[in-house]
């Protein structure tokens, strides 16, 4: 094998650039697992009371769809069930971020060309990125297993947890490595890798929630996230499944290197065609909308699929035995006051709203991306004024988030209507529930704009803040955090819909907050230099 010259130095360079990202992510993921587990153990001093609580939710498809099945009726399984699958998803995101950053992003920026001209083998950049991704995954698995044992969880179960995450994480290192060869841009790589993660999540959700004798259950085995579940940490502890992960990892990495051989630097395997010789874009707003088009269409498709899935799963939820005990447990997990189905929809819609906020943040922070790429200059040197230009980005972000949430409600309602027999009512209820989350989404857009306006270098902080909103919302109660911590998140103030009742005052206040943040952000942007120092 040749072409690996310089892998070591590239790996050191990459590790140096990620010296904060990787350790911080590893610690954050491990600590969330440990804190959630510790809080659960403290909450249920005897396993008897825990088992009582568990039995009420153990087969609830709504819960299973989101967090995966319980691996056993034990306190340890109960203490970790919310974090195992979610942690695996975050680990996939970490693997994806690390691998993409050091492959396609570098290549697109032209920095790889600079290095490639040095004494660097053709395969070295990909090898270094894959190695660093692998290290990040193994480190997370190791630290989490150690921390889990540290808080008193079963040691063989904790090792199995590490193994489950290794399988999933390594597979995503491979998936992203392949995606970076197929797509020509960093954004395209993101679409393929994150899209595959979404498909993996949905496949296992469908498989896990299907009736025991249904062939649909096999879908879980088609999903790498499902392989992690099948390890069943704190249950069956099938650590032998690691072989599956290693085979997938090796196969995907080999595929990535094979694809690398078949393309030029800077090119992808999915070809780009010649385009129009004349343009139809006549304004800065039209440009902003056009640049967002691909992303928004992708999200609309994803939300349509998601809506079909949650609409179908709702049918399974109905079969679940309804009991006061269960309802109480669901409320504790963040459900609404309505029926089990309502609770299920409310939880799914809330998570979808937080994801939509990610879309909104991504779109509004393109102001900063355009600026750092040097493209904003070209537009702002024309008669286009800065405030309308930035406002265009805000409006595109608001419109896109509104659209995806409405499509979610519409499609889920149409599917659920087949069950209830009243399509109109289902659609109205779920579209309303989706729309009622939007003010919180817009607050996130406004907050990101304030960062762009005043501390442009720290625009990226919008992401950890959004993740914090998500973690706080999901786990604040489990981790026994004080009430004010949870209230930082705009999503915390939303009524649980459907099932609850919408609070017009809260929604108005959230909307006004969003408007105020946008006004403040635009004022900051109007005053500062472009590009900012």
């Amino acid at each position: 094998m040749t072409g690996f010259t310089g892998t070591g130095s590239l790996l050191r360079l990459a590790a140096r650039r990620d010296r904060v990202l990787i350790p911080a992510s590893v610690l954050a993921i491990a600590l969330v697992v440990a804190m959630a587990a510790k809080a659960t153990i403290d909450l249920y001093p005897d396993s008897g009371s825990a088992l009582g609580a568990m039995r009420s939710v153990v087969d609830n498809p709504a819960i299973v769809a989101l967090y995966g099945p319980f691996t056993s009726l034990s306190l340890d399984a109960f203490a970790t069930f919310k974090t195992i699958l979610m942690g695996a998803v975050f680990l996939c995101l970490l693997a994806y971020i690390v691998v993409r950053r050091h492959t396609r992003t570098e290549e697109e920026s032209g920095r790889l060309e600079l290095l490639g001209a040095g004494a660097i083998g053709r395969r070295a950049p990909l090898a270094a990125a894959v190695l660093l991704g692998t290290i990040a995954v193994l480190l997370t698995a190791l630290v989490t297993a150690a921390v889990a044992i540290g808080v008193g969880l079963d040691s063989s179960g904790s090792v199995a947890l590490g193994v489950a995450w290794t399988i999933v994480g390594l597979t995503w290192v491979g998936v992203t490595a392949v995606a970076a060869q197929l797509a020509e841009t960093a954004r395209g790589t993101a679409g393929l890798s994150i899209g595959a993660l979404g498909v993996a999540f949905l496949l296992r959700a469908l498989g896990d929630t299907a009736p025991d004798d249904s062939p649909v259950r096999f879908l879980t085995w088609l999903s790498p996230l499902g392989w992690g579940e099948k390890v069943a940490p704190y249950g069956a502890n099938r650590v032998g499944l690691v072989a599956l992960g290693i085979i997938a990892y090796a196969g995907l990495v080999l595929l990535a290197f094979t694809l690398l051989e078949r393309r030029d630097l800077g090119a992808g395997l999915l070809p780009s065609r010649p385009g129009a010789a004349r343009g139809t874009l006549r304004s800065a707003g039209a440009l902003t909308a056009r640049l967002a088009r691909g992303t928004v269409v992708g999200w609309l498709i994803a939300y349509g699929v998601l809506a079909v899935v949650i609409g179908s799963i709702a049918g399974n939820v109905v079969d679940f035995v309804d009991s006061p005990e269960t309802a109480a447990m669901l409320r504790r997990l963040g459900g609404s006051a309505g029926t089990i189905v309502d609770t299920f929809f409310a939880t799914e819609i809330q998570v979808a709203a937080i994801a939509a906020a990610a879309l909104g943040i991504a779109l509004v922070t393109r102001i900063r991306t355009e600026e750092t790429a040097g493209r904003a200059e070209s537009v702002l040197a024309t008669p286009v004024r800065r405030t309308p230009w930035a406002l265009g980005h805000v409006l595109v972000a608001v419109a896109a988030t509104t659209l995806v949430m409405l499509v979610l409600g519409l499609v889920a309602g149409a599917v659920d209507g087949q069950r209830t027999g009243d399509v109109g009512a289902s659609i109205a209820s779920l579209v309303g529930a989706g729309a009622a989350t939007l003010p919180a989404v817009w607050v996130c857009i406004g907050a990101a704009l304030v960062l762009v306006g005043y501390v442009p270098r720290f625009t990226g902080l919008a992401w950890p803040v959004l993740i914090a909103f998500f973690v706080v919302g999901e786990l604040a109660e489990l981790m026994n955090l004080p009430h004010w911590v949870a209230s930082i998140s705009p999503f915390h103030h939303l009524a649980r819909l459907p099932g609850g009742s919408a609070d017009a005052v809260t929604l108005t206040l959230l909307t006004l907050t969003a408007v105020a943040l946008v006004v403040i952000g635009l004022a900051g942007l109007r005053r500062r230099d472009v590009p900012a120092a």
Binding site: G275, L281, L291, S378, A381, D529
Partner: protein
């Protein structure tokens, strides 16, 4: 060119005592710059001298910390919309939207500036030999610059602000560029051209300004600048001359004796005095080398006014 905005001005750009700092870095330290209407003005200086910062202030992208800048008679920070209708800008490092084609970008930038001259658009595309159907991501640096140049040169504007626009062009395309810029001036337009390419400056610029460490070092026509710099003179004399006496002449420096000849350099406007003195000693042989353009610029880049305490960074 249209001059619908009042009477024709004589000064297109007027900058005085312009200051700008980034944190602890002084980028502009009292810069002066004057560009007359209808001229091609070369804007020169080493990397990091503050050329791009000046241009960004003139475009209202950045705000100065002190001094005044007037562009086409207006305030560049406040009157963005009206002023930008009358100018076109080509950045030094042209970044385009990767998934738009060159043609789409040209039409977009043209539409934002209020419309393109269709004939000129077609003409420029042909002269610059640019394929407008390619996606921007597949363009080389030179082709990206061509896209921005075609968009700028086919716009109906009075002023072109060009920041090192030819650094990625091949010599053939550079010739096309020079022709296009001269035509633009012939039609009454004004050009501010930041450049490092001396032949380009020499062949198209009416006047140049050289800046260094955020300050203006010299301004004038190339002939005037040549006059300001030094000529190397070597002479074989009949009668022995006193070197200290020679060195004491106004404007004379680097005096030395080489193989029985005297050699020195002299500020060009003191050349007459030196020749008189040498004549008094009987000249047998004399060589006088006027400064090349390279020497002229090297001289100004390197040794002009004392640098500001901190080196300015490239903005």
């Amino acid at each position: 060119m249209n001059h619908v905005y009042g009477q024709r001005m004589t000064t297109a750009i007027e900058v005085s005592d312009l200051r700008k700092t980034f944190g602890h870095t002084v980028a502009l330290d009292g810069l002066d710059l004057e560009v007359s209407t209808g001229e091609i003005h070369g804007f020169l200086g080493p990397n990091g001298a503050g050329k791009s910062t000046t241009i960004r202030i003139l475009l209202g992208l950045m705000r100065s910390d002190g001094g005044t800048a007037t562009l086409l008679g207006g305030d560049p920070w406040r009157e963005v919309e009206t002023l930008h209708r009358r100018l076109a800008y080509v950045p030094g490092d042209v970044a385009l939207w990767p998934n738009l084609t060159g043609g789409e970008v040209i039409d977009l930038l043209g539409a934002l500036r209020g419309g393109l001259d269709e004939r000129r658009r077609a003409d420029m595309l042909e002269r610059f030999d640019l394929d407008p159907t390619k996606k921007s991501r597949s363009y080389s640096k030179g082709n990206r610059q061509k896209v921005a140049l075609v968009a700028a040169l086919s716009s109906d504007v009075e002023l072109l602000v060009l920041d090192e626009p030819t650094s990625g062009l091949d010599p053939l395309m550079e010739a096309v560029f020079k022709d296009a810029v001269r035509e633009f001036r012939a039609a009454g337009g004004t050009v501010l051209l930041s450049s490092h390419i001396l032949s380009e400056v020499e062949s198209v610029c009416d006047r140049v300004s050289i800046i260094r460490a955020g300050r203006n070092v010299e301004s004038g026509t190339l002939a005037q600048l040549r006059h300001l710099s030094r000529t190397k003179v070597t002479a074989l004399l009949e009668r022995a001359a006193s070197l200290p006496d020679l060195a004491a002449l106004p404007g004379v420096s680097d005096v030395r004796s080489e193989d029985g000849q005297v050699a020195c350099s002299v500020e060009t406007h003191h050349l007459g005095g030196l020749l008189e003195w040498l004549g008094a000693h009987g000249i047998r042989n004399l060589t006088s080398a006027p400064p090349t353009l390279e020497e002229l610029f090297m001289d100004q880049y390197r040794t002009a006014t004392p640098a500001s305490p901190e080196a300015a960074t490239g903005r």
